[in-house]
Symmetry: C2
Subunit: 356 residues, 2 copies
């Protein structure tokens, strides 16, 4: 994100004007999903420079982050004469920015694009840092590229129409960022609540801090060869919960999975790296309070462990689970090797704590 | 190609061993087309490190540089558990290296790949320099990425089974390289003939020189923002001939189109930039001798001009034709604005000279 401009602004129109004047695109294209076309596109559709923009809309939902949607976007670009100097504006959550930026990365070997994230998750995570892609062959993000949007323009007003669950989903990544880096407003972050009329200005400050954390690690390691893996805190076990829930036909939002994954991974950190007990207690209480209960029985441990192995096999292939663990807030040990026993113990702890 | 290793070798097996030992892939995949599977794969199939490699083969022909083939390659990689550390070896001409390297560029956001070019065109051009892609929406290379193969391993023996037309197709790009840079063995290049039992060692020396020229310009401008456009010499009018022939259902090989395009563009250079007359004469005689005649009537000038405009519209949009022209051998003027009249005059010259 060295070259990636990320701007939180109350003046989206002016900001967009500036970026467009800077990029001087020969044509402008817009991508939305069906929901963001309804809820978000109206906020910019009267922009004078977008009068002739070509709009593509795909159905909402992560199952549409697919090769079919990608071909649909390529086709629109191609048929309406996009060039490498044209601009694609992605208006939506992570589904839209992942798909749209990947389309931009690969259209004529790379055209310009701007992300306008409209979910909290995409504001603090998905729309930044250059990971783009689609799901393929039943696997998440199996196909993609590293390609940074020329600019990311964030306007907190979009969150007004976002439901609480999706706000909480993004909040989980903010918690993660607050844990892997000593952010100034950590306490404010913990206290923030997504009530009706939540203070979006205050949230904007927390979002900025969260972005800075991601920026910091991405700049150090743009292609995820090493330290960027820190951003996967909570995700090893989180992904297992996500896959498990999906295969049980009770899918959960990504951020919920991460939040619950954090409980297990913080417990493991406590046992293996002396992550402080009081801090653990405070966090897991908060997560239970905000995200509620995730249920599974001890009969599912093997299945969950299998998902973890599958997630990790690509880098190791040996059955060794190596994940980033917190020693304390802001201090991460990158490649901790974790025993199967301790992982099972963390499941026990999780269920005990959830009272299931 | 700063980091791209390009090796011409008589010891393909040893070379491949070295590269594999360097890259330490967790799995190896091979991509061929139906012809190279027959004619080229046998030359390496007994390699001890390829015993467990997974082989994918797609039908030969540029119409298969398609999204369908791309999905087939992604699917093979995915289903057989490829990771970012796996290696894809592309064995074939430009069709295979463009497609295979694009698949590698986009599988899990980038896995390793090695090109083993088996046509002269891919040895001196297509397999080098990081341009990858597929045809889409009826347009050549509409979708793709810049992604350099980790290594390009060249063995001249592959050319033994390549037909004369395809050898001449590659030779046209070598002529182009010999024109845009003062290569030491220019005279040998002009004298080289693809007879039965042509001296492949001698050709190897000329291929090395040709590669060095491409390398030189690609390193200066990897993403084709400026000087790399020099490599398009002969291609503006060449592409028009290629499109024209294709739409007339008498498709011609890319290199033939380039060779014929060179005749017109050298004539224009002579008229506009004083490219020396004797040099022009020598070259067009040679091209006519090797590539024969390409026929069109003056009724087709407008159509040809339309193709040229379409090719260029992406950068200008104004109907102005701006192409690189030679002042003399090795001295290029990058952005010469050429009048419609002069282009039509070059068509006249071409037809006169061809005796049609
Ligand atoms: N590239 C990365 O680094 C990265 C990081 C994290 C997640 N991701 C990806 O992001 C995706 C998840 O992102 P997401 O959670 O934003 O999902 P999403 O884009 O699917 O959005 C969630 C839902 O909210 C709707 N929506 C979006 N903005 C709205 C608004 N302002 N008002 C009302 N409804 C709105 C959407 O239509 C959708 O139904 C996944 O595909 C994930 O893989 C990518
Ligand atoms: N990426 C670049 O910079 C670049 C540059 C130039 C061309 N290209 C692309 O390269 C492609 C053309 O490449 P090409 O001319 O190598 O075409 P190709 O790969 O289609 O090969 C031509 C024919 O020769 C056959 N063949 C290949 N090697 C053989 C061998 N050793 N013996 C017998 N038969 C063999 C192939 O099966 C095919 O039928 C086009 O798609 C073009 O767009 C790319
Ligand atoms: Zn996440
Ligand atoms: Zn060419």
């Amino acid at each position: 994100m060295g070259t990636q401009k990320i701007i939180i602004t109350d003046h989206l129109h002016e900001c967009l004007t500036e970026e467009i004047e800077l990029l001087k695109p020969d044509k402008i294209f817009i991508l939305t999903d069906s929901n963001t076309h309804e809820a978000c596109y109206p906020l910019i559709k009267d922009h004078p420079l977008l009068g002739e923009a070509n709009i593509s809309t795909i159905p909402a939902g992560d199952e549409n982050k697919s090769i079919q949607s990608l071909m649909f976007v390529w086709k629109s670009l191609s048929s309406f004469g996009a060039s490498r100097k044209s601009l694609l504006i992605n208006i939506g959550g992570g589904m839209i920015s992942d798909l749209g930026a990947f389309a931009a990365a690969t259209f004529k070997r790379g055209m310009r694009c701007i992300n306008i994230p409209t979910t909290l998750l995409s504001m603090v995570d998905a729309s930044l840092g250059g990971k783009t892609g689609i799901n393929f062959n039943g696997l998440k993000n199996e196909v993609g590229a590293f390609y940074e949007a020329n600019a990311v323009l964030i306007n907190m007003q979009f969150l007004k129409t976002l439901d609480k669950q999706n706000n909480l989903s993004g909040y989980a990544e903010m918690l993660k960022h607050g844990l892997i880096f000593d952010v100034p407003n950590y306490q404010e972050l913990l206290n923030f609540r997504f009530e009706k009329n939540a203070d979006l200005n205050k949230l904007g400050i927390l979002v900025q801090e969260s972005i800075d954390v991601k920026k910091y690690y991405v700049n150090k390691d743009p292609h995820e060869q090493g330290v960027r893996k820190i951003l996967n805190l909570g995700h090893t076990i989180g992904h297992a919960f996500e896959s498990f829930a999906m295969h049980s036909k009770k899918p959960i939002l990504h951020g919920y999975a991460v939040a619950w994954g954090l409980i297990c991974e913080l417990y493991i950190a406590h046992r293996q790296c002396n992550f402080p007990k009081e801090e653990l207690k405070k966090l897991i209480d908060l997560i239970k309070d905000r995200y509620g209960i995730f249920e599974f029985t001890c009969k599912s441990y093997d299945k969950l462990y299998e998902y973890i192995l599958h997630d990790k096999k690509n880098t190791k292939g040996s059955g060794i689970i190596s994940i980033p663990l917190l020693k304390e807030r802001g201090v991460v040990s990158l490649d901790e090797t974790v025993d199967k026993d301790l992982i099972y113990e963390s499941f026990d702890f999780f269920r005990d704590f959830m009272g299931i």
